[in-house]
Amino acid sequence: MTENKRKLVVIGNGMAGARTVEEILARGGGSLFDITMFGDEPTGNYNRILLSNVLNGSYREDEIFLNPLEWYRQNGIRLLAGTRAAGILRRARLVYAENGTPEPYDKLIIATGSRPFLPTMEGIKMPDGKFKPGVFVFRTLEDCRGIAAYAQGKKSAAVIGGGLLGLEAARGLQNFGLEVNVVHLGGHLMPQQLDPSAGAILKTSMENLGVKVLLKKNTTAILGQDRVLGLRFSDGHTLECDMVVISAGIKANWEIAAGCGLPIERGILVDDQMRTDDRDIYAVGECAQHRGVTYGLVAPLWEQAKVLADYITERNRHAAYHGSKTATKLKVMGVEVASMGIVEPRDPEDEVVQFCEPKRGTYKKLIIREGRLVGGILLGDISKAAYLMQAFDRNTPLPEERLQLLFDIGDPPKQVTFEEMNAATQICNCNGVSKGTIVACVKNGKRSGKAVMDATRAGMGCGSCKAMVNDIVAWACGGETEEDASVHYYVPGVPLTKTELIRAIQERGLRSVSAVFDYLAGGKEDAASKPGLASLLKTLWHDEYEDELDARFINERIHANIQKDGTFSVVPQIPGGITNPAQLRRIADVAERYHVPLIKLTGGQRIDLLGLRKEDLPNVWRDLDMPSGYAYGKSYRTCKSCVGSDFCRFGLGDSISLALRIEREFQGIDSPHKMKLATAGCPRNCSEAMVKDLGAVAVEGGKWEIYIGGAAGSSVRKGDVLGTVNSENDVLLFMGRFIQYYRENAKYLERTHGFVRRLGIDKIRAVVMEDSEGIAERLDREIASSKAAYKDPWKTAWPEPGENRFSSLLPVLS
């Protein structure tokens, strides 16, 4: 293999040289050529355009490497790092290094790049030919490091050259805390990218940010004997500074080509295949001059690399480079600039579109030729840059409304009433139902949302438009929607109100969810109705209820609270929030054993172990050996308390003792929605009992106020006083009676605050405190019976062998 390969030598290992080699390798060049590369710098190839980011500290050095040294090894490339090529012997077809070592080639690529242009001035260098301490150029990683090191402890710096790179250097220097002056020979900043108006605006913006800009200043000398002390200009003025960065443009490195007689102008002359005058020698990148242009940006260089690679590997002998469109976009000290193509019109027919608002630092200018963008400047507001640069790059025809090119002019979002809404407006995407169709359907007699949905299929795809369909139906009915009977159903899948449903369940003795479906819903199971039915049946039948796992929500199926990442949280029962060292030790052991990522005290004064895996749950319960704290279900949750009368100076009643009794009384009682309780030893309400579903607050004279219907969640509501009672026993009695009344009469998933508001506190007080309906005794009996049916689910919920409730492979988690 090797003997057939030709020798390819590349002089230069920068952005152009390395990229060209990559492109050659990508075209199978590895099997065509033995590749040798000369590189001045001792490192692999890094991304030069990110250098200023290294200088300003937003990148680490190692982050900008494109080709680290091992890349060369892996691709079988001999890299002569830190070795400078000194000359080319075309007749002998070899390149020799500075130390004289010859390197024969069959094909040679010159990618020597460019170097900073140094204007003529005194005092740049010391007698030994090195830069005077404090003088820098800004070109390589080495320069970057040097600038950063020298800037330590210095006060001021000057940048010679107000071009793109000079301003980036100025930004970097300012980041080091230096006072920065930009000294520029021309009449405005960034002459390559901006016109005079834009340059003037940029100058003001820069000065507002603390950078001084000196225009039309020709620097004639760098002052200072053995280090930089200042600058002198042709007008005789001087400027004090501790360091100077020269950034006055670049100069192609064509010397090695000139030395072997290749034609040179500003760069090495190449044709459309990137060939020099010698068919075996190519030039690419900043050292090359193509159709009169040399480029100093990365995009053109990559385009050249592709063409060269296509041609040299014979992958595409017709590959040709036709020149590049140049555009730049950058942020100079917070000022955003985008520029593309020409900055001034060149043809009398060129159309110029312009907007200028100097006060805000905004300037926009576009140059349009034959409906296509040939140049543009955006300063301050570059929100249209992405579109414009693409239109420029791709020669896209521009819209005739030029204003649109400069600004995003969207219509303000308009609130459309149903009246104004076009009949053809699509309401349901999935089923292609328009407003007109819905309205027509209402006119034909479907006068409820559900009826319209059944008839039109609106809302029966992904379901996201249901609310809007209902609103349109209501509007079309003139507010006189026929109430859809189904809104009163306790659950959607059984066509009965709660009262009717309870009667039917009791009459027929239906003890399981499936039995309810069989007898009351024609055998048609409805998944969405199951949890509600399960809750109701449990309320009605206590321990005679026939549990069916699939009828419960995931939380209630596996007695833990699912978290957003699919793990579970476990809260053991700690009545009153009172614990002891033995319990804490057990909890700590469990937390360690099962790698619990987070242990948190809950708002209800319990300890929450979060992040448990489903399959670990049964073992966690076993090892905790504590009852379930019911932190997951639609049920009694916790009773929080303050420290009460034993320790607190203000305590009027023993809130701890009451909280313990409440928890024993109501633990595990399920209900239409969760119930959070609290007891407070005085009206200071430290335990927030007044905003709980049920709360008891001690008042003067050994009495307790019972609060119901408080909320401090997504709704906030102070509870209503159900009554004031004389003893802890009475608190338990009336709370229990209320809970049972709530269990029997609330809609599924109706919190106590909604329930109390719906029925009114007067009605509830009458029933619970005054037995206005004569059902108090029954309510008390029912709740006592529920209490007797309590079983700790963590003891009873052990999985059967082969049951996959706790397996993590369940396809559906919730």
């Binding site: 990508a26 991304n47 355009i49 990110l50 990148y59 982050e63 900008i64 490497f65 494109l66 080709n67 890349w71 995009a299 555009a327 976009k329 950058l330 409906g371 929100s383 840059a385 992405a386 579109y387 640069m389 693409q390 239109a391 790059d393 791709r394 020669n395 896209t396 025809p397 521009l398 819209p399 005739e400 409304e401 649109q404 995407n429 999935c430 089923n431 292609g432 299929r457 029966m460 795809g461 992904c462 379901g463 996201s464 998944a527 957003k564 990442d565 699919g566 996959n804 397996s807 993590s808 492979l809 369940l810 396809p811 559906v812 988690l813 919730s814």
Partner: protein, 704 residues
């Protein structure tokens, strides 16, 4: 062509639980029979669609009793004659004779087979076997090549196996951030949006990448309005941001992947300003997308045809896989890369041997142990198995040429509409010596055939489908086919018999499935533990499922990836410009895609009045500003021209599309066919044509 249906023949149970005939979501539905010839669709709770259906699904039952149904074979002696009714004996004998004479004159490979991604697993399996055993031709491929082949190839390279989604749909709500690339699910797969709504309700973020603002992007947290054909630049740009902002997961990269260096080096040239210039997505939006992905604890990256149907499709997908891997968002619960398959059995169709290079169970035709296993199941000598053949477009392009396919058998595909550069493919169809098409309507391709066989529809036969999740489903039979109609399985068995391979081809779906189970045992897509009974009981079973005790595999890669060393692979996935970019002559981008009320080549959906009312004809979506530049007003006819051809369509003005881009849906026939325009430049690996981007010119059409 209308045929009377025989009511007596259509006795069926009154309610049947089955699935929708269209896309890869395979929504569960009930078919209720009203009388013996009319069915209606009813909602069915199934884990994929949870009771919802789109317009296409609700109207699907109308297809069963449609008056255009073919109920007798059609044939013609000469191309100049019209098709005439024929007996099955006549038609099958003609097919046999044509196959034999073609093969005698031009060799075995002169007969080709073209399948489809809507065929059941049983049909796809038997079709592959028919080609290799009865015809002994290497020339078989299918329209799935035009669907997800790029994602399939990328999946194989990166993860060692190709399953569309490595997780069930119900995991989507648990992902904090989802990046959805080149997909308009709200229109193409509406009921799936439930999962994204739920994801959003849980506080998740959805990022949609699309050159058009769509019903899907309207629900998104962030819409990235990308330039067509620049997906790999976007993916690399997001990886660049992830590297820059330290969003990477070094532990995951170290423990579960290989070759990160390749991806890192590639991405390091995609700094935001450069990516903005390539993609047209502003740096600010790029940064925001990077942050949403990088800071999420769980994230998914999903691609559809947008990035895949390109000549750089495989690299595009690999670039997004790189991103998922680098963020450590794969092989963990609620994380991963997934491809959203398009066709009903896009997934199963590619696993069982109708692909040019594949054998059942995702086995490879160029892999000796795989060949040996299949040869043994099929009871043939391994050396009699052909070698891999040409990919779909290559085969179609060769039709009627020297050394190309001279006779073609088509099952469930309509290439005259769906192939790229369709005008050229039409010419190639005419150049064939013989064309046979099996379909239930006279599709545009069938209308050009020498023999047309009337096939049973989805609800008239049993069979399994594998949906986008890798869930194997059972379509139960709801109705008897009309008299005169046969199933594809019956046709294949019958033809095989006439070609001297009788006895090797069962014609009942359950028997074919039993054979398929044995053929896939031990393969990558192992179905051996799946039975019809289990599918019924468990609402589908996820492959791989190697034994009847095995629970199936809803979530893949939790412990290891399917590569030999268990590690996922990064790749150097470079952005390459589209094969054809706009220029002075063709100054705009053209992209193509689907719309809500139509499906694929429209053979089914264009026959339903309710759907035609919603979407009656082809159109071009054009930005109002660009329309003004060309002096085009809404509803006007315009002529679109590319280097392949010209199409006449109505202009639909909409600010939802990029100014430099035109969109044409591909469902419509005749002079409005989008694929008259598209570019058949193929991805070098997947052989996917570049449907999603080419350069186009727009002219006002004066009269039409």
């Amino acid at each position: 062509m209308r045929y009377m249906l025989d009511p007596e023949s259509r006795q069926a149970p009154s309610v049947c639980a089955t699935h929708c005939p269209y896309c890869s979501l395979q929504c569960g539905m009930h078919l209720h029979s009203i009388d013996s010839v009319t069915w209606t669709v009813g909602s069915r709770e199934f884990p994929t669609n949870r009771g919802g259906l789109c317009q296409k699904g609700w109207s699907a039952a109308e297809l069963l009793s449609h008056p255009d149904r073919l109920t007798a074979p059609l044939l013609r002696e000469r191309r100049s004659e019209p098709l005439r009714r024929a007996t099955w004996e006549e038609a099958l004998e003609r097919v046999r004779a044509s196959i034999e004479s073609t093969q005698q004159r031009h060799g075995r490979d002169a007969v080709g087979v073209f399948g489809g991604g809507s065929l059941t697993n049983e049909k796809a399996y038997l079709l592959g076997k028919f080609a290799r055993v009865a015809l002994r031709t290497s020339q078989i491929d299918y329209n799935g090549r035009f669907c997800m082949s790029s994602a399939a190839a990328a999946n194989l390279k990166a993860f060692g196996i190709d399953r569309g989604l490595p997780f069930p749909l119900s995991d989507i709500p648990h992902a904090q951030t989802v990046l959805l690339v080149g997909s308009n699910l709200s229109e193409t797969m509406p009921p799936v949006m439930q999962y994204f709504q739920e994801q959003k309700a849980r506080g998740g973020a959805l990022i949609v990448v699309d050159p058009r603002a769509t019903a899907t992007s309207a629900t998104a947290t962030l819409h990235l309005q990308i330039t067509p054909g620049t997906d790999a630049a976007l993916a690399n740009g997001l990886l660049y941001i992830a590297m820059k902002e330290s969003y990477l997961d070094p532990d995951f990269i170290a423990q579960r992947t290989q070759d990160f260096e390749l991806a890192r080096r590639t991405a390091s040239s995609y700094w935001p300003a450069r990516v903005e210039r390539i993609t047209g997505i502003s740096e600010r939006e790029l940064q925001r997308a990077g942050k949403l992905l990088g800071e999420a604890r769980t994230a998914m990256i999903l691609t559809s045809r947008g990035p895949e149907q390109q000549s750089n499709g495989v690299q595009n997908v690999l670039a997004f896989i790189n991103l998922a891997l680098a963020l450590g968002k794969a092989g963990k619960p609620y994380c991963g890369y997934g491809c959203i398959t398009g066709q009903g059995n896009g997934q199963g169709g590619r696993e069982h041997g109708q692909k040019a290079d594949q054998l059942p169970g995702y086995r490879r035709l160029d892999h000796p142990p795989d060949r040996a296993h299949i040869a043994q199941v099929w009871g043939i000598d391994e050396s009699d198995l052909p070698t891999p053949g040409h990919s779909a477009y290559e085969m179609l392009d060769s039709m009627g040429t020297e050394g190309g396919v001279r006779a073609l058998l088509v099952f469930g595909s309509n290439m005259a509409i769906s192939a790229p550069r369709a005008g050229h493919i039409e010419e190639r169809l005419y150049a064939l010596d013989f064309l046979m098409v099996s379909d239930f309507f006279l599709s545009e391709t069938a209308a050009r055939a020498d023999v047309v066989l009337p096939a049973a529809q989805w609800a008239e036969e049993e069979g399994t489908m594998t949906n986008l999740e890798g869930r194997v489903l059972l379509r139960q039979k709801a109705a008897e086919p009309p008299i005169g109609v046969r199933t594809d399985l019956q046709v294949l068995a019958e033809l095989a018999g006439r070609l001297g391979c009788g006895g090797k081809f069962p014609c009942e779906a359950p028997a074919v499935f039993e054979e398929l189970r044995r053929a896939t045992a031990g393969g990558a897509a192992d179905y051996s533990g799946i039975t019809y009974e289990r599918i019924r009981r468990e609402d589908g079973v996820f492959w791989p499922c190697p034994s009847e005790n095995h629970g199936g595999t809803p979530r893949m890669f939790l412990d290891r990836f399917a590569t030999p060393d268990g590690r996922a692979r990064f790749h150097a996935a470079e952005f390459l410009p589209a094969a054809e970019e706009p220029d002075g002559d063709y100054p705009l981008y053209l992209t193509t895609g689907r719309i809500m009320a139509q499906y694929q080549s429209g053979t089914q959906t264009r026959r339903l009045p309710s759907l035609m009312q919603s979407a009656p004809e082809s159109f071009v979506q054009i930005h109002p500003s660009m329309a003004r530049t060309y002096g085009v007003t809404d509803g006007e006819w315009v002529r679109l021209t590319t280097r392949r051809g010209t199409a006449l369509v109505r202009a639909k003005l909409s600010a939802a599309i990029r100014m430099d881009t035109l969109f044409v849906p591909f469902h419509f026939p005749g002079s409005g066919r989008a694929n008259l325009l598209t570019n058949p430049a193929l991805d070098p690996v997947s052989k996917m044509p570049e449907f999603k981007v080419c350069a186009v010119r727009l002219d006002k059409e004066q009269q039409c």
